[in-house]
Every structure is written in C-alpha cells, then in structure tokens.
Assembly symmetry: D2
Homo-oligomer: 378 residues x 4
C-alpha cells in the first residue's frame, strides 16, 4: 500500500508513551469507563473501579455522536471536569471523544488522549486537526472500513504531524443479528502486519451485549491486541447510553484478573489491580500460584530428563549452564522484589533434583540397566 | 428460539466422545491436516506432524466441493484409504467431509468423524442423512449463516437421531478484502450461550492466509473454543488447494506449543506433543519456564506480604496453613512425576522467605518503625 | 474468468425455449405462484391468476428447504400433481425446486423447468445431476455468492451437458434490516456482461415484504432482467410460508399491467393478460391512454416546430414526407386492428395542425416579424 | 420509528423547489457532472453536456474527502468559481459537497444546493450546521448505514430548521467484488414508505464502473427514484478521480434520452434535453412517436370494444363520458402548447371510430347475429 508512507513504515513498532503509560509495548493497557459522562459521582465510582482493576486510563464521552438527534448528546464542558477530576483523583489518565474542531479545541489541553469515533473515521478534516495537536489519538475503525482505509485514516493524522496514533478495532457491520457488530479479530493481525502502530480492541461496541465481553476480551489479548477499551458503568441499568453492553464495576474487576493469565500466555504483561483484600481471596490466589508452580516445575523436570537422554551420564551435571541460568534470573528477581538469596537457594534445589531425576531416568531407560550396576560406569 | 428443541437444551453441556477423545470437555482438541488428500506419503507426513504437535484428529478431504467444475474434485475412494491408514498408523482419529448420500455411505464406516462443509450447511437432505448415522458430525457454519440458522442446521441432525454434533466457526462473508472471510469469534460465545454443543474454530478458511493462523488460533482458544481445525500441508507450495492458508508441519508444531499456555490461561488443558528434541530448543523451553517461575514466585511473595499486612506480627508464621498447602501439593506433584522430597524442601524455602518478606514489609510500613528497632535490626 | 468456458462464451446470447416460451429474447417472462404447494384449490386459483396476468409459468414448491426442521417441508409427490394439473388446465408451464437426487428424479419428467434454490447453489453434486437432464434449470444466486461463483455454479450444469440454464438474482445478505435480503440489481448487468445466459429476478425473496414488490419488479425490468419470478398466493394470510412477501392475485394482476409499459420503455415486450373487466377499470385505462396521447402529440408538435425552424417557410409543408409516414403507419394500424380510414383522417388532422404550428412558430421567432405581416395575418 | 418526528411525517410528500426546479414532484431531476472540479474548461464542457441532456443541476466537488491524504483534495475556492460560472452560463443550478464548518460557510451563498457525502452521513455536527442554512441539502446514505440511520441523519438537518432534505442512495458495502458498492434499490421504496422526503439515486458511486450506469439508472427510475445523480466527465481517462465510473458527455446525453420513456412508463416525466438538431434525427423521433400513437390508439380501441361488450347496443355512444374526457384533456393540451381546436377535432374522430368499432365488434360477437338484422333492435 504505497500511500501508507508513515503508517506503513516497518523499521520498528511504535511505543506511545503518555503520563507514564506505554501503549504498544509488552504491557497490556486496560481502558475502562462509561459510554457517556453523566455525573461527578458516576465518574468517581467508575474511576475507582478502573484503578482497582489495574486499568490505566478512564474513558467517558462528553460529546456524543448519537444516531438520533433526540438522544442525549453529552454534558460537554461540565462533563470534561467530571472526567478529568475523577481520573486525577484516582491516579489515572483519561480519554474522551472529539467530534469537530470546537470540541477538539475544548478538550485538547484537558485530557491525556483523544478518541476519534467510528462514525468520524473518514471525517478527514477532523483527522487533519487531530494531526496538529500533541496528544495521542485513539482512532476507531469505521463500521464498514477496510483495514486499508483505517490505516489511511491514521495516515492523515500522521501526515499532519502527530505520530501518536493508536488503532482501535470495534467491530464491523455484517448480517449477523446476535451481536450489534461483528468483532474482527483478524484485523488486529492484519493492522500489525501492515503498520507499526499499536492496536487495541473495544469488545463492548462490537458485541453490544455484556455477556460476551469476557470471552471477546480474552480472545483479543490472545490474538495480539495491545490493550482493551471496555465499557463499564457503576449502574448499567440506569446508563443514558449503551447500558446493555456495559459491565458493572464488579464484573470489570473480575475480568481484569482473568486477563492477567491470558496476557502472560502470549508473552505479555497485565498487572491486574489490587486484589480484594480478604484473607480468603488472597489465599485462593496463593493456592492458584502454587498449583502453577508445581505444574511448571514438573514440566521443567520432564524437559530436563529429555535433555539428559541426549547426554552421556557423566555430562548430565552442567555447572556452566547452571551459572548462566542464575545470571539471567537474579536481575529479573530483583526487579520483581524477589530476594536473590532465595532464588539462589531455590535453584540449588532445582538443579540438584533435576540432575537426580535425569540420572534416574537414564538408568531406567537403559536396556542394559543391570549390567551397568556400578552407577555411571558407562 | 423455540425451534432449538434439542440443540437449545441447557441442562448440561455435551461431551462428545469418540475413540478416547472427548470434545467439549476441559481438554482442547486439535485437528490438523491438508485441505485435500493427495497421496499416501503426503498423509503420512501430515499425520506424523499432527501427532507430534499433540493433535488428536487428522483431517483430509477426499470429496472436494470446489467453486469451479474444472478444479481438482478429490481422490474419492483412493483418498479414504490414505487418510484412514495414516491416521491409524499414527494413533490418530480421522475426519473427512461428505457432500451427498453417496459419499456419506462410502465413508461412514471408515472414518471416525464426518464433516459437513460451509456450502452444505443448509443442504437439509444431507443433514437428515447425517442424523441417521452413529458418528460425530462437525458442522461448519455457512458463509453467510446467522448463528441461529447454524444451530437450526444442527437441529436437523439432532432431530434425525444423531446427538453428536460439533459446531465449527470458519469465518463469514464481509466486505473486508484482507482476509478471505472474517472470523467471527463472537459466534463461539453466542453458540455456547444458546446451545450445549461443543464449538470449535477453523481459522484457516477464515483467514485464507497462513500468517494470521497463530494469532487467530490463540484468540479462538481464549474466547472459549473447544478445539481448533487447522490446515497443514507437508508442502504448502505444492498443495492442490488452499496452499496459501496451510501451515507447514514445523509451523503447526510450533503453534501447538504456544497453545498450551493460552489454554491454561483460560482454565483449559492442551497437551502439546513431544517437543523438538534439540538441546537448544529444550533449553529455550527451560528458560521460558524459569522466567515464569520467578514471576510467579514474585507474585506469591507480594500476595503473602498483603496477607501479612492484615495480621499481627506474631501471627505471620502460620504452621497450620503451611501444612495444608503441602498436603494439597504433594499428591499433585506425585501425579506429575515430581519428587515429593523436592517439593517439601522447595516449600520449606518458600515459606521461610515468605515469612521474612512479610515481616520486613510490615516493619517498613509501620509508622512506628523506629520504636521497633530491635525487630528490624537485620 | 478463465473457468467460465461455457457460461462465458460471448458468441451470442442464449435463448432458452420450452413449451412455446422463450427466455432470454425480447419478451419478458413472468413466473408466479405460491412459495409452497398446499392444495389443489390453492394451485388452481394461483394458476388462474398467473394466466390472467399474462404470466407464462406457474411456480410452487413441493420439496421445501426450510431453516428449521420443524417447519412445513412440502407436500412432495402429492404436491407435484396439484402443480402440474393446475398449470396444464390453465395453459401454463410449471417449475418446482429440487433439493437432492431423489426429488430431482421424481419431478424431472413431470415439470417443465427445474429450480435450484439459493441454499443449494453450491451443492455441486446436485448441480452435476441437473446437468444430466434435458430440462431448463433456474439457478438462484446464493445468499452470499459473488456473481463469479454464481456463474461457476452454472458452469457445473453446463459442463455436465445441460445448456439450458437461467440465472435468477434473489437478493444477497447485507446488514440492512428493513428488507429480508438486499436485491442486487447490478448483478443483472454484471451477469449479462460476463455470460450469455438469461437472467431473471425474484424480488419476493429479496424484499421479504409485499409492499416493495411493484417497485423492485419495475426496477428489475428497467435494469435489463429477462423475466420475473414473483410469489403470489390466493390467500397470503394463510400461506404456510412466505405469506408476508406474497402478492394477492389482484395485486399480481395489477402489477403485471404496470409492467407492460416499463418493458416497452426499454425495448422489451410484455403482454399483460386480460384486464379486469369492470367498466370503471376499463375507463381508467382509457384515461391513462388519453393522457399519453396528448403528451405524445405535444411532443410531436414541438419536434415538428424544430424541423420547421430549419426550413424555408414555403417548404414547411412536405407532401412526400407525409405520404411516407402514412405508408408506414397504415400496415401497422391494420396489424393492430385499427381502421386505416381512421388513421388517414387522423393524420390529415395531425399534418394540418403541425404545419400551422410550425408556421406560427417560425413567424413568432423571426426577427423581421413585422415585415412579414401579410403571412402572420391570422 | 418514533424519532423520525419530522422526516417521518406522512401528511404529504415534500416538494423541494429551488431556482425553478422541483425535486420530489412528477418530474425526474437529472444531476450530472464530474466528481472533482478540475478546470474552467472542464466545467464548461460538463455543463454544456448536462444542459444538452436535459439535466437541471451541475455537480462538481471542490472539497474532496479522499481515502488517502496524498490524493487530490480539491481546488477549493478556485473550483467554486468554475462550478458556479459554468452552471450559470448554461442555465443550470449547481451543487457541491461540503465537509466541515469552513467549507460550508465558503459555499453556502454560492451554490444552489449542498451535498453531504456518504462518509459524513453521521458527522452530526456537520448535519446540525447544514440544518441552519436555507439551501436544499442532498444527503447521501452512508456506506453501511441502515435506512433508519439515514433518515435519522436527515432528521438532524430537519430538526435544526432546514426542511429541504433530499435523500440520495449511492450503494452499500457488501462482499460482492464486481461492483464498488451494491446499489440498494429497495432503499428507495423503504425510504419513501417511512418518509416524505424526495429520494434520488447515484448509480455511479455504487457501480464504480461506467458500463452499468445505463442499466442502474433505468432501474432506479422504474423503482421510483425522484432523480439521478450521475458522474460525467469531458474526458474520463484524464479525470483526477472516479474516471472509470464517469460517463462521457456523449454517453450521458444518450442515456438521458433513454430515460424519458422509462420515466413515462412509471407515470413520471423526464424532458430530455434538446435533441440533436439534424433533420434526420428529428424525423426519426417523429417516427417513433407516430408508432407509439398508433399502438396506443389501437389499445384504446380494443378497450373501448370491451366496454362496448358490457353495454346495450343503444348505449354504446355516451355523450356525457365524451364531454368529460375532453374537459380533462383540453387544459392538459394547453399546458403543453397543443392547440385545443386540434384536440377537439382529434377526439371527434376518436369517438366516432370508437363507437363504430364497438358496434361492429358487438355485432360480430353476438351468436344471434343474423336474427338481429335490424341494427340495435335488442
């Protein structure tokens, strides 16, 4: 695609940093909040839940592009204050949608990121304006935009001088009626293949129904998304818009905890927020980790035995390799506030039992086990 | 949906068992193989790769529904033999597509599962025939079928007497040109909400391009799929059909290994096959496990510190809890061939450092740190 | 499209003749009848209405491919008799859908044309069977088939030996909910550009609602369709299927009358049936003709004035041209049972007033109007 | 649809009048011109062709919303002058697309109608601005907008105070690759059923290819469109945009002439432009009208005979009815500059031969013809 002069450059992936948050790196960024800002108390509750879940960015619309002129059009000026204050007081960044030159001018100095919505993806004049400010822009894919058109829309912003564009897949229009739109997770891979820009996913607008959000959020992470934009409302039943697709704070926090393992399974990091601090819940968490530890160690031993099978019995113990391993792990442990003394003692144990396990396995497997009675004589 | 009399029953999820393989349970089932059976050698190679990867079922088409009458239409009778023999010799089950009464009669006693393709999803006469045999049927979603129509197609098979239906999402037709079809991962959740039948995903036909298969396969598992149907060919460049979307055996095996962690992250199990036995690859695997171990232990210590924060200093050490933990972990370790002696020594270490870490943390956090000098003297 | 070896030949357009009816020629062919054959009396009423409207072919399904296994599946054998008898007794041909080898064998010798439905467009085994019989086949476009795939499906039938294929556009799946499917009238032009086969249009299944049928039927003819396949039921409210999209006999007959002019406007012929014989309806028809007569005569006079503007005043009257005109019109009038004496008197009038009108116009337009006073003395 | 407070009112259809042109009435309005204004000479040639064809409005884009930021973005200010001057000098109105507040302000006082493009259909801020000016607005349907969303977008303009909205269907996004978009002619009927606003059709953007324009234009008129918006360029091969879908001036003029009959066939009027003024072409036109006259008169006589068949012989002549007919036709004739004296003489002839024909027919048909020898004795 020859016109992706900037969006298509492949030299390295973009890392978009804002207020201590990096989009497009190893860490998964969670963005949450209501569709529309409704009140100060609503935003405070939403922000607390985002923080609690490990989210980094609070969302909330103050200028709402609504299909009907008679639907709630957003709180405007007043809403910005609620959004910004709630974010600040909870140590979060915030993002809101802009819909024209005026709304963009109004929020550009207030919020940390701007969003351009699906219906404005090809509002090229707005894209050009967004290209002239110095804030990251989340660019949603149009309801029937091809990936190429989406990237060309990003190119408008880049070409106008703003290199901080984050793509957001949010579902496309198809014939399927059971969801509001059809989430196109292939688009994550395609956009990342064609471009260096971060790609996040909004499962809420795609599904239009709350019950699918956990499944689609995990699917999105596993498919390679750099972040998630999820609608959550302190009281979805009374939301002025998009209630049926909004999670409750509790559901949002519970989902965030499930995301951690999915992120890790594809080599990403998501630090879910403070867990509920009951003794019981913390112990359940420890139990889960313990099971994983045992399973991982069993895996490790099994692989070690396979390695052993390829070596002479007197070469099973490999002090050089053991030293290498420790040299890599100790800095990692220290970064994670884990005692290096502990790691050394732990791996002494691991290496000891690993060698034992390998030798035992080799001997068991040897056909001439009996004839080899003096151990290691081979 | 009132007409889902059988498919819509919610009493319990279906578990479809065939030849020792259970679809719809906790285990993820991997199905692989070429689009079309071409030769005995091709199927032998494909089967070996499926086995190696941890797959359970070999696929291969012998009756090919092709868009053009001048395209290769499949080997028929001869192909069945290649498919069945390759599966048997590698300890796999096999599945092939049927396209009419005649082909169904020809393979019903030969293969372990039947497939009804997307283009025949509403070939109701074929569905009725498939309802009269006693083999599981993989029913692909039509290119433009709604989830409801897909389930009603399954209902045809169920109503005719065959309760063993496995749904397979394979992408729907949309306007997006960068993929052959658009994989609809929402359909997994919707189909599971409306029905008790297992749902697997075929990312190959959806994407139509090899490079997206890993991303979509992981996305599918994380979104809740019960299995994957992936095209793999010993030599994709010479495949008579669907070469561009087929993985090589190496790519297939590599992907399978990545699936294990994703499955685990959503509480499922996928036992990937024997790993490639080079010393280097085994060591890379150990390195990966070691990193995870350190990260998990760091998590464990952090949670322990939180628990500690809720206790009096003299209650941090809790011998009863430690004993409980070991009593749960030792049987698990033994199941996994992990030495119980090792586990005991390991956890002695873990408990020791955990207590240390908790105490240190408590003291640091206490406002009256100074007055406690004797304790924090370390 | 290289694989359209037979369907793509451009030497000349196909004319498919069956029982005195030619599809693909200048004449527009109207096919009507209920979705499903329900009873003898229903088919008799439907056939009478088709005949009355000027239709040539009676449709009615006896094997119904239904989305749900619990919906009415057709009368089968019994229904064929009702369909065939009703057609014969009303001097019509008949067509019914076949869905598999068995149904095809059952009807091949009974009906005049076969239909392959949208859901079976890529049931390639059925296409091959349809290629082996000697009856015209109406091949409906699949719900999400591209025009190319549709033509390749036709190619299956042609390649198997049956050259009598009639394509039928019936709407495609899109996101638009106000119609059941979206009628794709571009497909008429595209299919005719790529192929020599006749193309007819089924607006009923596309719209799924009765009120749009007249508009879409006229649109289809004007866009170049060779015929129309329209659902009509003696009592739509009690139809076992597709009632909401079925016209009543009265609506069907009324529509047919409107089609005549549309066909003629694009150089095609449709002979609508006997008009309803109430005095009132006949007079309304005469009123319509009278208005057209006046408008056409006004056009004629205006053109005549333009011709006059190019001639010298003394050459406006052109007896030779007048004679030529009469010599062409009198045989035409006689063919149409119009009195030649009447035509002669009529054109004497037309010529007289035309000359008057031209002269008057010339004089008005001449700059030297005043100097010409003697001539303009009227 | 409760939110269509203004667009959904059904009291009467909107007639939008601007500069002597009425959209939404019986007359079909043809709009033509290039996608983008490129030069003064280009617009002069385009305007001359529009005029020649009978078009009423010249189109030309000066602010171009282009998918790529590196494509030609329009001439802006300079282009407006070319457009406006070309329109004025050829006695046409003109329309151009606006894309934001600034472009709207720049053209609002210059052009006769504004256009809001498909990509801006849900640019609600632009819609609100368009609602505050006093010019008709052509509102194109979005690429994936439902008819309901399209009407709600119109409602934004109406609710802001501008009642002059003309809807324009221009194709929707589907999977079909042979056309750029899929023209949805059902939308014409649906929009007219739900709303009183005029609906025009743009076949050029839908098809994306020149060869389908005639077929789709005729289809659109027959389906009920109130007008057509067709791209035409003096030299399509050198057009900066949309060349492949632009007609040449010759093709545009030729199409316009074909539209006249289609419009008439559905009770509408399209006065195609000045015909080529050669004696030969004018005479060919008269010959065509003469054939139609004879055919219509033959039809009239045939219907009259049917009426006659329902009456007693002495009631065939019906002076009251004859008088009624003349009273209706004479004002129509005068409107069309047809001499009333001519009409009276003409209908004297028509009535005379009609009565003769009826009597003759009655007598021929009577079984007891011989016994009735004294005419009228029944």
């Amino acid at each position: 695609m020859k016109d992706l002069k900037l969006a298509g450059s492949k030299s390295k992936r973009s890392l978009i940093e804002v207020g201590g948050v990096a989009l497009g790196g190893q860490e998964i960024i969670l963005i949450g909040g209501p569709c529309a800002v409704e009140s100060s108390i609503q935003m405070q509750k939403a922000a607390a839940a985002v923080k609690h879940a490990g989210g980094k960015i609070l969302r909330g619309g103050v200028f709402k592009p609504r299909t009907s002129p008679y639907s709630f059009q957003g709180l405007g000026r007043e809403g910005i204050d609620y959004l910004v204050r709630a974010a600040k007081e909870n140590g979060l960044l915030c993002v809101t949608e802009v819909i024209d030159a005026q709304s963009l001018a109004m929020v550009a100095d207030e919020v940390d990121l701007l969003q351009i919505g699906a219906r404005n993806m090809q509002n090229f004049e707005l894209l050009k304006l967004a290209g002239k400010i110095n804030k990251p822009v989340i660019l949603k894919r149009g309801l029937s935009a091809t990936v190429e058109e989406w990237l060309l829309a990003a190119e408008y912003i880049l070409a106008a001088g703003n290199s901080q564009v984050i793509l957001c897949e949010r579902g496309i229009r198809t014939f399927e009626p059971s969801t509001r739109n059809t989430l196109d997770l292939s688009a994550v891979g395609v956009a990342k293949e064609l471009s260096h820009l971060p790609v996040i996913v909004d499962p809420s607008h795609a599904a239009g129904r709350r019950d699918l959000i956990p499944s689609l959020s995990k699917g999105a992470l596993a498919a390679g998304a750099d972040g998630l934009l999820i609608e959550m409302h302190p009281n979805p039943d009374e939301a002025v818009s998009d209630g049926p697709q909004s999670l409750t704070p509790e559901q949002f926090i519970a989902l965030a905890q499930e995301l951690r393992d999915v992120a890790q399974s594809v080599g990403r990091i998501f630090v879910s927020g403070e867990r509920a601090e009951t003794l019981e819940s913390l112990r359940l968490e420890i139990d889960r980790i313990d099971r994983n530890l045992i399973e991982s160690l069993a895996d490790r031993m099994q692989i070690a035995r396979r390695i052993g099978a390829q070596k002479r019995l007197d070469r099973v113990k490999d002090a050089g390799r053991e030293k290498d391993i420790l040299q890599r792990l100790i800095p990692l442990a220290e970064d994670l506030q884990l005692s290096s003394e502990f790691v050394k003692k732990l791996y002494a144990l691991v290496f000891e039992f690993s060698v034992q396990s390998q030798i035992k396995s080799k001997l068991t497997n040897e056909k001439d086990l009996e004839s080899l009675c003096p151990l290691g004589s081979k």
